[in-house]
């Protein structure tokens, strides 16, 4: 289809916009390695001093720990119930699948500020402000839609005939689920878990209301710093979060490659 090659003007526009899309992320990473006492681009010298300041400060360490614990909790809850729900949605016989899925996606549609205030209203009443496991459970609400979108697609790629074949050969439903569905869907499940972790690790608004002083996550601490003077150590914290995103995307790319292989093996 030679007539559908992108024109030169379109290419120029698209590549300019790609610079616009990627530049902010790249610049933050470069700034984090700057050597001088203030933000300067391009930096006149490079060093690890802001990363040393970030990893050396006990308050940032506490934030890192809180963020990790919260994200692990959210990831565990969202992935497990999300996996079951996705299987139910894909293989189930209910006629209102679309409606159920749309309902389960509303946590990303309803403005997070309102969700966060409602959760805060409840959390304050039961005295769980600053409780890491509780915040993780609240994050699982907004991580669940991410899990569903990934896993519904992944499970639709699992051939239902493989399940039928196992059933006809006398395997129980539970055995089919554990020995056929789970291994075939595993790369998708791992992807979903990674993005659920990331959704919680990057979440700001709910944490802002529920963190109190005890469980200030990395995004909350960055938010607090941005309301004061912008110190370069924030660049290191931001670059760290970008690094986590990078790792998640890389592992996900690897898992995507594993998907067809997993199907071929069976």
């Amino acid at each position: 289809m030679t007539e559908r090659e992108p024109g030169r003007l379109l290419s120029l526009f698209v590549w300019t916009m790609c610079v616009f899309l990627l530049a902010p992320v790249v610049i933050v990473c470069v700034l984090a390695f700057g050597g001088s006492g203030y933000l300067q681009f391009p930096p006149s010298s490079y060093s690890f001093r802001w990363f040393e300041a970030f990893f050396g400060d006990t308050r940032w360490q506490q934030s890192l720990l809180a963020s990790t614990l919260i994200a692990l909790t959210a990831c565990a809850i969202a992935t497990s119930i999300g996996f079951l729900a996705s299987y139910g949605l894909v293989r189930g016989r209910t006629r209102i699948k679309k409606l159920i899925l749309s309902f389960m996606l509303t946590p990303i549609i309803v403005p997070t500020v309102i969700t966060a205030i409602a959760m805060y209203f409840l959390t304050a009443k039961i005295g769980l402000i600053g409780n890491v496991v509780w915040i993780g459970a609240c994050h699982a609400i907004v991580a669940l839609p991410v899990v569903l979108l990934i896993l519904v697609a992944a499970l639709q790629g699992v051939d239902v005939n493989l399940e039928r074949a196992a059933l006809s050969l006398g395997a129980s439903r539970a055995r089919v689920f554990l020995r056929i569905v789970l291994p075939l869907a595993l790369p998708g499940v791992l992807s979903a878990a990674l993005f659920a972790f990331l959704a919680s690790f990057d979440e700001l608004v709910i944490s802002l209301f529920l963190a109190g002083v005890r469980a200030q996550t990395l995004p909350v601490r960055i938010w607090n710093s941005l309301h004061m003077e912008i110190e370069p150590v924030v660049a290191a914290a931001a670059a760290f979060l970008i690094g986590v995103t990078g790792v998640v995307l890389l592992v996900d790319a690897g898992l995507r490659r594993a998907r067809p292989k997993a199907a071929a093996r069976t």
Partner: protein, 291 residues
């Protein structure tokens, strides 16, 4: 307990119709999401008094100068951000559908990396870029294009740039999915019948992508009217969006009834738009996920 008897019967029921596996997630959302929201509205509004008093509170809150201004500001910013995302996102999605594999991967990379980067990090990045002593002003001053720093942050320009940047991937991925579904033989037929590129684009391609445009615009607009982080950090004192006003009435003025009535307006507006989105889109394709 009759466990040995009850267990096989429930497990058989689950396996006969796996839809039952949806139940834990539904229960979790009901308890963790719907219940807090409903309770927040009921508890704060029932403190106000009778139904008539609640209605009075609503009309009082909505007609407050600050709230009215915030609603208008929110609407305009969301509209402008949606248009900006559409104007920039459409050509990019179009390009993604035409180009060969190598370039496709690079362009997609440039969209996906910011998409999965924390909103607070993306906002911070633009604050560093747009600030009075920010990188863009440093560059403009050094090049002699301007003599004094340009105000790009803490005003509407800052909000528009920041929000467009954050919401752009949603638009591009939605449009890309819609364009991918178009059968290329339609365009080939148009060309074979003598249509020019422009004519084929306007009368064949554009109408076929219209539902993508509508769902992309809806999702960006829905997310924009409830946006909090970016406008709170990048806006000036006069650029208050409704989500910021809700946060302030909880955190600063402790006016829970006002927060609840503004929240209810925003939630209802969001849900109505989401219902339209539901009608025009396959929800499974939300954010460009491949069904």
């Amino acid at each position: 307990m009759t466990r040995p008897l009850a267990r096989p019967s429930t497990s058989t029921a689950i396996w006969r119709d796996p839809s039952l596996l949806i139940a834990p997630a539904l229960a979790f959302l009901a308890v963790g999401f719907v219940l807090p929201l409903v309770w927040f509205f009921v508890a704060t509004l029932s403190d106000v008094g009778s139904a008539a008093e609640i209605v009075a509170l609503f009309s009082d809150t909505i007609t407050l100068r600050a709230v009215e201004t915030a609603l208008v500001t929110t609407f305009w910013i969301a509209l402008l951000v949606t248009l900006a995302c559409l104007l920039v996102g459409y050509p990019i999605a179009y390009y993604l559908n035409l180009t060969e594999r190598g370039r496709f991967v690079i362009v997609l990379f440039c969209i996906i990396v910011p998409y999965f980067t924390s909103v607070i990090v993306r906002t911070y990045a633009w604050m560093v870029l747009l600030g009075r002593n920010g990188i863009i002003n440093q560059f403009l001053l050094a090049s002699g294009l301007v003599e004094a720093p340009v105000a790009l942050l803490y005003n509407k320009i800052g909000i528009l740039i920041g929000m467009t940047y954050v919401l752009m991937p949603y638009m591009i991925l939605t449009l890309y999915a819609a364009m991918r579904a178009i059968d290329p033989s339609y365009l080939r037929a148009a060309h074979a019948l003598g249509a020019s590129r422009l004519f084929a684009f306007r009368h064949v391609y554009l109408p076929l992508t219209l539902h993508g445009v509508i769902s992309g615009a809806l999702i960006v607009f829905i997310l924009a009217i409830g946006f909090f982080v970016t406008p709170a950090l990048m806006g000036g004192p006069s650029d208050v969006m409704i989500a910021m006003l809700i946060e302030r009435s909880v955190e600063i003025t402790l006016d829970w009834p006002a927060a609840a009535s503004m929240s209810l307006v925003l939630v209802l507006a969001t849900l109505v738009l989401y219902a339209i989105y539901y009608r025009v889109t396959d929800v499974q394709r939300m954010m460009g996920h491949e069904p």
